[in-house]
Symmetry: C2
Subunit: 341 residues, 2 copies
């Protein structure tokens, strides 16, 4: 899934070039490239499918030339994750009716890929027979209030366990109790299922979306596909797969895993994934000189010389003529600042 | 005089495009254009001469197309103000042996031009007969430690008075005593003299420079001029006219004046010359949005959208891929920061 606009990492991420297409960590690969790399032990390039917005198709082609062009699906408009997943899985099912699928966002990072792929393999083995959905549950390392949680009492790392329920983003106190309890995991939006299973589940819990897909399906792999998609995709309910299926179905399992996952959802989280200097400053940029600064994230890869003096706990980011200087403690307001004009 | 490199206003001012060629106040005219505009009541464009570095000649031509090309003099290398002035005045004297001249830098601003030109006219009247040099002395409005001072006990605003001596940049306590005393004025580097007078004074106090000019002069207004200048100009002593002549001569006068002068020598001083919002933020830029900021100067005219949150007393400046964020209290270190790589 590569349709997001990543507004929280403005100005490096913009609607024209959102974060999944950016080398946000300064490692030489964009987040979507890192994501595809990550799955290469379990998935050949022929079997990688990207669902993105129409406006990003060319970027995806450019960044992932090894993926067949027909595997890049263009949503006419964003309808959240359920229609996106329904569309991709239906297409995959038409080509391979028994396909066992991993769904993941294209803009997260994972540090321990071996551990992660090990969990994914176990999940794929588990779902192959059909009838079940597995999510990867990230073992929480802090009482994070920015993620949803999966409750699965007694679930063990590396073993598939039954999910009791999904929980919305908690307040700090609740998050702390989750961490203490030990049976709660971050919902990273990574799902493993057999295409037949998700089809059944969507028919049961999101019949409106399944009906649209039934109408669309005859056009798939024909020259009418994009026209039909333009006409019908927008009719799908705008709903996440979490709400549409996960929270309703009884067949949801989790595989707890602690692979160093982050959704890089904010400048503060990006900072923690870049090597810091002894003052806690994380820098992506060619010639960034810092004086008397502490605990800052600086992302100015398009700049020549950058001089920053006397900042503590700030994000400084620049790209394409846009500039952000903002306390990390206030970064949740960046969206409002952008909308303020 | 337009040869400076304005490093204290980096990155808006750079060696490639220093501050005299920039619309630093966002008023629609660059500082050198404002300077030429300023003298138009007393000087026709035919009589304006610019001495600059070779590398800036094209910029001067572009910004001041109304000035005859041959009036733009190109120094092969910077040798401080005495050789620069000696060269220009010698050329002017060859064309008009009785020329009465005002020398000024091209990167200062003056708010009350009527008052200033009134003082300049009086100074020109005074020097016309020859034998005297008049400097414009700016009535101090604060105990500034960044300027040299002119001591002229009892000198009255708008009246030419005798200078007792020039004083180096003082410490704060000394500057405060100057302000209290009342007989001290800022040395703005604005000099008025008859070309014969400066020639005499240079022969007396800077004979080495005069000797180089004697050797150069036969080439002036010929096609050999630039070649000869390349060969000989670098031989001139590297010295300011203040040290070479002003501090030694007995014929120095001052006309005190309070025209709202500033050399715009730092981001802090630029800030005070731009309209501020109610929080004391001075902004030059197209779409600059400030949140929780106080007493900042923001100069991002090349940028699209700029969001700045939570800064108090900072300079934020961006141009051509370079970026500065620095406390105004630390801005005297910008030169060091630039040299630090």
């Amino acid at each position: 899934m590569a349709g997001g606009i990543g507004s929280r990492l403005w100005p490096v991420s913009t609607p024209e070039m959102p974060k999944q297409f950016i080398d946000i960590l300064g490692v030489g690969r964009t987040l979507i490239q890192l994501t595809v790399d990550r799955f290469s032990p379990v998935c050949t390039m022929d079997n990688v499918w990207i669902v993105t917005s129409r406006r990003y198709v060319d970027i995806v082609r450019r960044q992932l030339p090894e993926i067949p062009e027909e595997n890049i699906l263009a949503e006419p408009e964003p309808r959240n994750t359920a229609p996106c997943i329904a569309y991709a899985c239906r297409k995959i099912a038409m080509r391979n009716p028994d396909a066992n699928v991993v769904v993941a966002s294209s803009d997260a990072i994972i540090l321990d890929n071996v551990k992660f792929i090990d969990a994914v393999r176990k999940a794929l083995d588990f779902t192959e027979a059909g009838g079940t959905i597995v999510t990867v549950g990230i073992t929480p390392t802090r009482p994070e209030t920015g993620y949803g949680y999966i409750h699965a009492a007694g679930a063990q790392e590396g073993c598939v366990g039954k999910v009791s329920e999904f929980r919305e983003k908690p307040d700090l106190k609740t998050a702390e109790s989750y961490l203490e309890d030990g049976g709660f995991f971050w919902n990273a939006g990574i799902f493993i299922w057999n295409v037949n299973t998700i089809d059944e589940q969507l028919r049961k819990y999101a019949p409106q979306i399944s009906a649209v897909m039934d109408e669309l399906a005859p056009s798939f792999y024909t020259e009418r596909e994009q026209t039909e998609l333009e006409r019908l995709f927008g009719r799908c309910d705008k709903i996440s797969v979490d709400y549409a299926v996960m929270e309703k179905s009884d067949e949801i399992y989790v595989i707890p895993c602690n692979p160093g996952w982050s959704d890089l959802g904010s400048w503060g989280s990006v900072r923690t994934h870049i090597d810091m200097d002894t003052d806690g400053n994380a820098v992506v940029g060619s010639d960034v000189r810092m004086f008397g600064c502490k605990d800052c994230i600086v992302h100015t890869s398009g700049c020549d010389t950058v001089i920053i003096e006397g900042l503590e706990g700030y994000a400084v980011a620049s790209k394409g003529g846009n500039l952000l200087v903002c306390r990390l403690s206030e970064e949740q307001h960046i969206k409002d600042f952008l909308a303020s004009k």
